[in-house]
């Protein structure tokens, strides 16, 4: 799975703890963009991130980050950012002071560190609250500071461990928006781990699925969410008559809560659907080929035969 232009590569990496194999013969490369590491708890996501950061040495295999062995050359970490899943903020310190300190620890001179701290807090939406002690922040604000500390020294790659964990839906949307912004506007490559399919689907360009310490799947999100040969149709009324009209024309129909799914995508089928709509006097709201969902990677459901209610 090694590719050209890879920013980070893992070559046959195994990590063995006394009681468990966290990663097993992993060959993987990370290229520019947003890559999602998806897997259940204990799948090896956090271990993989720690190995990429050089915090934990692999039991066997080799890891290259930006062309360097991170365990032997800690200076590579000046170009890496990391946002841990757990709490990591000193609650008594104001965010601006803490970020300035962290920027200096990343190697920036003091004056530049102060400027970067203020700029980064502005980009994550905490400029107004920057002089308040972090102990007074909400969970969402703390997550933003955690992201800011990973970005303050302007790394080339940032590794985010469950960045939306513990947030309410609105906070989750905001955080995932910031993650997308980190690559699309700031140009910083993102690797982020999550056990939530929807987060990865909404945010990432590429996905790596880990199962029991092995890479189960890896590739572009678009490959897994490609159009299927199922046509999904929503109508605003007379749905039963519409279904009957379709069946009368010999079309295989699946009915769900969200709409009606019919197999096929050619022009003849479209004509049959049009005629059925006219006959049933059913106002058309939407008609489009159905896309697969990442969840199907795990459930094994074939997109072409999925429930119509899940589509859309």
């Amino acid at each position: 799975m090694l590719e050209g232009n890879a920013l980070m590569t893992m070559d046959n990496v195994t990590k063995q703890y006394p009681a468990v194999v966290a990663l097993h013969e992993v060959d993987l490369s990370f290229t520019e963009g947003i890559t999602g590491l998806l897997g259940e708890n204990g799948a090896g996501k956090s271990t993989m991130i720690k190995i990429l950061l050089g915090l934990v040495p692999p039991t066997s295999g080799s890891v290259q980050v930006l062309g360097e062995d991170v365990t032997r050359n800690p200076l590579v970490r000046t170009r890496l950012g990391y946002m841990p899943e757990h709490d990591c903020l000193p609650f008594e310190a104001p965010a601006a002071e803490f970020l300035c300190h962290i920027a200096e620890v990343s190697g920036l001179p003091a004056a530049r560190a102060r400027m970067r701290a203020a700029d980064t807090l502005r980009h994550v939406g905490l400029f107004e609250a920057r002089h308040r002690p972090m102990g007074t922040y909400s969970t969402g604000m703390k997550q933003r500071v955690k992201l800011a500390q990973a970005l303050v020294h302007d790394p080339d790659i940032v590794l985010l461990d469950e960045p939306a964990a513990g947030l309410d839906p609105a906070g989750r949307d905001d955080m995932l928006g910031l993650v997308r912004k980190t690559y699309r506007e700031f140009g910083i490559t993102v690797v982020f781990s999550s056990h939530l399919m929807s987060d990865v689907e909404r945010t990432c360009d590429r996905i790596t699925v880990l199962e029991g310490g092995r890479v189960a799947k890896s590739g572009a999100v678009a490959e897994y969410t490609a159009e299927t040969r199922t046509l999904f149709i929503e109508v605003d009324g007379n749905r039963e008559r519409f279904v009957a009209a379709l069946e009368a024309r010999g079309v295989s129909v699946g009915v769900g809560k969200g709409g009606v799914a019919v197999q096929g995508s050619d022009e003849d089928l479209a004509d049959l659907v049009r005629d059925a709509l006219v006959e049933a006097e059913a106002p058309l709201r939407r008609m489009a080929p159905r896309r697969r969902e990442l969840a199907e990677l795990f459930t094994g459901v074939d997109g072409d035969h999925g429930e119509a209610g899940e589509a859309g």
Binding site: K50, L53, L55, V56, P74, L75, R77, T78, L80, Y82, P84, H86, D87, C88, L89, P90, F91, E92, E97, H101, I102, E104, V105, S106, G107, L108, P109, R112, R116, D119, H123, Q149, H153, D154, E185, F186, G187
Partner: protein, 324 residues
């Protein structure tokens, strides 16, 4: 480059107040690597110990200890000055327990222990407890860099806190003397002695208190552990102090090791005859300002460096093997 105008300026472009959003700017300045990282951790440690940049609560205890330490030296200098002014050199000598040596033999050392127990845990415990240590170690900083920078910050503060009262005492003694230059000419050797003795005390107190702070997660636990470490061995070894065969037991007491090292640096080693007379009558003819150690310099230095190096090595090994 996006440009927006403030509410005031929106109606009248000449009113000024234009806000430019220049978006995210990549950093193109210097990156100074591990040297800057170590310096940043050191500076942060120095500020944490003294509560600089924090509220009054963080400053209260360390600065109270420093004030007490300085206050003792001011009182000592005032006593000498008073004796000197009223009765001359004889009067000054009649005021016992006011020498640079004596400063750290009883009160000063105990207050320094309390100071160390209060401030040293600030350097290591919160970083591990809050998880901030992770953020340090994913930067161009090794665990060894981190712990050495914190150690150096603690040592710097300890040395300054140990030396400050001695300089105050020196200033008091010099200014209290009718002929300050004559006093300095006669007693200048006190200066390198108190600098050396102070550095030795600061180094060992730093080593022990940083080890306790490194092993405890909570600051309170580390403080209690340190106070116990300073007090209990001293109480346990005290009965052996006047038994020539068992005097070596007192080397298990941090306070005794520092006290004897202080004696060695200022006043040297006691002669055998004097030692025998003191064993026979330990409380007779006790000179507070010129007491000498009964241990050989080699034995004392071995005990001192054992107390100094063992905690340093254990702390270093602990952080090197720490897995996050």
């Amino acid at each position: 480059m996006a440009e927006t105008r403030t509410a005031q300026a929106a109606g009248d472009p000449k009113a000024g107040g234009v806000v430019f959003d220049i978006g995210y700017q990549r950093y193109a300045g210097p990156r100074e690597g591990r040297r800057r990282a170590r310096l940043a951790v050191y500076k942060d440690g120095f500020r944490k110990v003294l509560g600089l940049g924090r509220g009054p609560k963080a400053k209260l205890l360390p600065w109270a200890c420093i004030l007490v330490l300085v206050g003792i030296s001011i009182v000592m200098a005032a006593m000498v000055g008073f004796g000197q002014r009223t009765l001359g050199d004889v009067g000054a000598e009649m005021v016992p327990g006011t020498s640079h040596y004596f400063y750290y033999s009883i009160f000063g050392l105990n207050i320094l222990f309390i100071f160390a127990a209060l401030v040293a845990p600030r350097l290591l415990c919160p970083d591990r407890r809050n998880g901030t240590l992770h953020l340090y170690l994913v930067r161009p900083l090794t665990a060894t860099d981190y712990v050495l920078a914190r150690w150096a910050a603690c040592l710097t503060v300890m040395v300054l806190v140990v030396w400050l009262p001695q300089f105050v005492l020196l200033a008091g003694r010099v200014l209290g003397h009718p002929e300050p230059l004559t006093y300095l000419d006669d007693n200048w050797t006190d200066i390198p002695k108190f600098l050396l003795s102070g550095a030795a005390i600061a180094a060992m107190v730093t080593a022990v208190s940083m080890l306790a702070s490194g092993l405890a997660t909570r600051r309170g636990y580390a403080s209690v552990l340190l106070i116990a470490l300073f007090v209990i061995p001293n109480a346990v070894t005290a009965p052996f102090a006047f038994n020539p065969q068992l005097q070596w037991v007192s080397m298990f007491s941090l306070g005794d090791v520092l006290g004897e090292t202080n004696k060695l640096i200022f006043n040297g080693v006691e002669q055998a005859a004097e030692a025998d007379s003191q064993v026979e009558d330990p409380f007779g003819d006790l000179d507070l300002d010129t007491a000498q150690t009964r241990f050989s310099p080699a034995f004392l230095l071995a005990a001192y460096f054992g107390w100094l190096l063992a905690p340093v090595v254990v702390l270093w090994m602990y952080y090197r093997r720490l897995r996050l």
